[in-house]
Amino acid sequence: MTDASSNPGPLSGIRVADFTWAWAGPQGSLLLAMLGAEVIKIESHARLDHSRVHTLTAGSLTGGIDESPVFNDLNLGKQSLTLNLKKSSARDLVKKLVGHCDIVLQNMRPGVLDRMGLGYEDLQKVRPDLIMLSSSAVGATGPERTYTGYAPTFACLSGMVDISGHPDEPPIALSGSVDLRVGTASAFAVLAALIHRKRTGEGQNIDLSSTEVMSSMMGEAFVGYGLNGRVPERTGNRHVTQAPHGCYRCPDDAGDPQWITIAVSTEPEWDALKKVIGDDELERADYSTLKSRLDHQDTLDEVIGRWTAKSPNTEAVNALQAAGVSAAIVHSGKSLASDPHLAERGIYETVEHPLIGSVKVVGPPWKMDGARIPGPAPLIGQHNEHVLTEILGLTGPEIESLVADEVVY
């Protein structure tokens, strides 16, 4: 972990009031924290971030609300301030805090914060150049703006699920990674707004649709539909215009199945593949054109599969890459954790969490000056005193009174 004080990060000095919860929203503020921003997560015992308690993939989590490894992973380095937004004096404190913040992030259902008097118009009054981003399932405007969703439902609405999966099976829903794509797009939009503000002094309100994020990441399919009226079909691990192209099984390693991917996209690559595989059957004139290879994919896959069945995955990949063929290991979470390339890249970093202990997490997605894993996620309310005294100037007795009234809760 980088020492933040010695290398402040490109977003040093930027302060974020973070109302986000679950996965999508927190990913956005997590990226900002990795880049050096100060992120104050506003949460409450009255309304827990559900990743402190359970997840779609893992069900209920054992341990207390401060022991969730999922919450830790998505909220590294953030500060936690507990404010019970049901209380009007908590909402007043929010407004005071926002006066000291550059950015507000939130992903509650459209209208919820507005009804609390904490919408963009309200907050802009205390911070005229405020940048606020609201992310939601299908956007904050339009006939379905009250609709709610999670990663799988956005992915379905976007068109991405329809084109994902094997052609002879139901489509695949993808995973929580869809949420993190939404958070990443949020970070991008907020940074663009920050650049605009530097140039003009103006903040602004940003309304982000999670569904549209996913549609944007398959834009060529929409443009293609406009060009030729075709609705794309699922191709699994195959490709419409390239062959050979797929996953091939290698010998098991310690009982775990191993696979590699091979993707041939040029004639020289096809020649190289044939050399490495060294099977006469691939040299047949039948396969000399791309069209014939596309037509005979099943046969080609069988021949290649016979070779990979005898070639341990790393050896196979290295032999193919040395010849100039695009090949790689199909990783699982387990194999990633012991991959030598990733070990040398240092992508896994360790954070010390006060309750969970030493936890390995995936490091920042850029190797750049000032990007870092900014420490463990906060315990709930861990930074109440710091924020309320240092930023808002409240006294000890004032804070005690707020706690007693369950305003700070």
């Binding site: 990441m217 398959m218 060009l227 996953c247 099984r249 695009s326 790689a328 390995k360 997490v361 995936v362």
Partner: protein, 422 residues
């Protein structure tokens, strides 16, 4: 020379008040004034640069003379006829850019590139590690002439490490990041692995993540008084997007996997996903189904028991869903506060009134393919706007950029063309 780019005209299916249209037309992109040079092909690096250009940055894309970006020959194409100016992949990923052709294998070509690179904020590139260095165009050299330069390098496995020179298509990338089978590649079907996502999703992931790092570096430049080199490994960018699941494997050998009732359900006319993470969402689903007897049984009120008897519940849900369309279930579930989403295809999404009301699709006019709807950005800014313009023809802006901005004469440009430099 920078031109203020206006938003494209409203789609004719929109009825907006005149004043609203006028206000939109006045809006500029938030990244106006940022100057970007792109040396990239296919998806990841071009997407990174597109994201910047669509928000108003001035993007010059450097392409190989004659052939241009490889994506020009990847479809879909009108009538399935390959044509380098009619590729949907190129057209979508290269909106808001100017195209200049340069052969960097020639000294003249490299010289012109260096001149361009000396006067920009950002260079986005995707050459194999070491290639730019071999061409004398590495970060140190370029930053010497332009200390504020941000160089964003996007490669499959990063600038360092034993796999840094490995070639990778989307298929290789997606599976190398553990996304398709994080828990374990399947062993039951020895001839088939889990499927990757459709399209080029992992490549888009890398481009978007690179854009975040790039904009942060732009902001950071003010603090440090100089630019920097941003090293993006597509594999690592994707791993970051699956950080929760992948992280668990780094800490425990066999993390638990499993969710609550719902998930993908087959309906009368396709699939829908319904999620019931919170108890009240399950209750909403029960309401949506008309409170059937089986759901009112005592065991069904307890989340733990529901989880234990999930197969039974799924069977009931399937029977119910088979009587309804995807859209009926979508709206019914949503009405009762239950997250749901129908599996839609591109045609469905383009006809979706929610997307149309939000002007998510914008019409751009291109000299070869004419007027086509493109997805715009997924963000609505209150002051700024998405200001995308149609993709360039190959080398379309050689006269503007090489002649106009860099001052080469027509005679010089002619000579460069003959020599294959441009």
């Amino acid at each position: 020379m920078h031109q203020l780019r206006h938003c494209t005209p409203m789609s004719k299916s929109q009825e907006t008040s005149e004043s609203q249209a006028a206000a939109t037309a006045r809006r500029a992109g938030p990244l106006i004034g940022l100057r970007v040079l792109e040396l990239g092909e296919m998806v990841a690096a071009p997407y990174c640069a597109k994201l910047l250009g669509d928000l108003g940055a001035d993007v010059i894309k450097v392409e190989q003379p004659g052939t241009g970006d490889r994506s020009r020959l990847r479809g879909p194409f009108p009538d399935d006829l390959p044509h380098s100016e009619r590729s949907a992949l190129f057209l979508y990923l290269n909106t808001s850019k100017r195209s200049v052709t340069l052969d960097l294998q020639t000294a003249t070509g490299r010289g012109i590139f260096e001149r361009l690179a000396s006067d920009i904020d950002i260079l986005v590139e995707d050459r194999a590690p070491g290639e730019l260095s071999d061409l004398g165009l590495d970060y140190a050299t370029l930053a010497d002439a332009n200390p504020g330069l941000i160089l964003t390098s996007i490669t499959p496995f990063g600038q360092s490490g034993p796999n840094r020179s490995h070639r990778s298509e989307h298929l290789n990338l997606y599976h190398s990041a553990g996304h398709a089978s994080p828990f374990q590649p399947p062993s039951e079907m020895p001839d088939r692995a889990a499927s990757k996502a459709g399209g080029y999703l992992g490549e888009y992931d890398a481009g978007l993540m690179a854009a975040v790092g790039t904009l942060a570096a732009v902001l950071g430049r003010e603090l440090k008084g100089r630019g920097q080199h941003v090293d993006v490994s597509k594999q690592e960018a994707m791993m970051g997007l699956e950080r929760v699941t992948i992280g668990r494997f780094a800490n425990e050998p066999n993390p638990f996997s499993g969710g609550g009732p719902g998930g993908l359900i087959e309906t009368r006319d396709g699939y829908v996903i319904v999620n019931t993470l919170e108890p009240r969402q399950w209750e909403g689903l029960v309401e949506a189904m008309g409170r059937p007897d089986w759901a009112l049984a005592e065991w069904c009120q307890d989340p733990l028991q529901r989880r234990a008897r999930m197969e039974e519940i799924q069977s009931h849900l399937s029977k119910w869903a088979a009587k309804h369309t995807r859209d009926e279930i979508y709206h019914l579930a949503q009405k009762h506060g239950t997250p749901a989403g129908p599996v839609r295809n591109v045609k469905d999404v383009m006809a979706w009134n929610q997307a149309r009301e939000r002007e998510f699709f914008r019409e751009l006019v291109h000299p070869e393919v004419g007027a086509v709807d493109y997805p715009a950005g997924p963000y609505r800014f209150s002051v700024s706007d998405w200001v995308g313009t149609a993709a360039p023809l190959l080398g379309q802006h050689n006269p503007d950029v090489l002649g106009g901005a860099l001052g080469y004469s027509n005679e010089e440009l002619s000579r460069f063309a003959d020599q294959g430099v441009i």
